[in-house]
Symmetry: C2
Subunit: 152 residues, 2 copies
């Protein structure tokens, strides 16, 4: 794992992030990388929100991974702050390199640094490898994740 | 459903919210209602964050339900903003009254108003009634929810 940096995503990283979101069995049908204006507007909303931490992993000057960490303060669990990891993606050429582990481990450490006592995420049930991956990192598959789409 | 109001939680609502969080098969072992200082500090963090919408349902002047809605802007799904519903609780005397449905329906409508195109939540797999409840409201149990505790 040489030359790897995990850093805040900049506006110029948006095309690389979107390319990774689209290069995915589920993302392929959901993304439209040509619509750069929409993604840049979304980026601006993300960086305007101090609870959002959108990062990229860069190796030797190339963006090879991304994830978004969200900080959620709350009353439950004795006033616990939790974080949610979303949109974890690793570039095609980096799969199997351990980069996914590096990214999620970074997110867990950053969560701790931000004062969170719980990290959570959901994974589409069709991503059969994900369960093994997250359990190996100490996560417990204790919950059912529900989604309701409002756009269709 | 007479006299029901869903409104932003105020600082004076914190004890009633915490009582509902604790009066729950899972919450009983996780909350400490006597530690008011901790919960008030958590409340202050929640209201300082514009992405958090902590609400209570009030019937005839009594707090009978609560939930927290979190707005998460992001790049994935063509720059979709999503919301997450957390900590849905209904007071003991109101169970079976349809208040849970009112609360979640309010959260879905509020999500739409806030520009979200996806609403998500997770439910502990041991809450066997929850699946039927959320599916009846249109949610799809498509995901596995993972949690990692950092405090123990």
């Amino acid at each position: 794992m040489t030359g790897l940096t995990i850093r805040r995503a900049m506006r110029g990283d948006v095309p690389a992030i979107v390319a990774m979101l689209a290069d995915d069995p589920l993302g392929a049908g959901r993304e439209d990388p040509a619509d750069t204006q929409t993604y840049h507007a979304a980026y601006d909303r993300v960086v305007a929100d101090p609870g959002q931490h959108l990062v990229v992993a860069e190796r030797d000057g190339t963006v090879v991974g991304t994830l978004q960490l969200t900080v959620i303060p709350g009353l439950s669990r004795r006033g616990a702050t939790r974080t949610i990891i979303e949109a974890v993606r690793v570039a095609d050429g980096e799969r199997g390199s351990g980069l996914g582990t590096e990214l999620v481990t970074w997110a867990v450490e950053e969560s701790r640094r931000l004062g969170a006592t719980l990290v959570q995420l959901t994974s589409d049930a069709s991503r059969t490898d994900a369960r093994r991956f997250y359990e190996r990192l100490g996560f417990e598959a204790s919950h059912v994740g529900f989604k309701l789409r409002l756009d269709g």
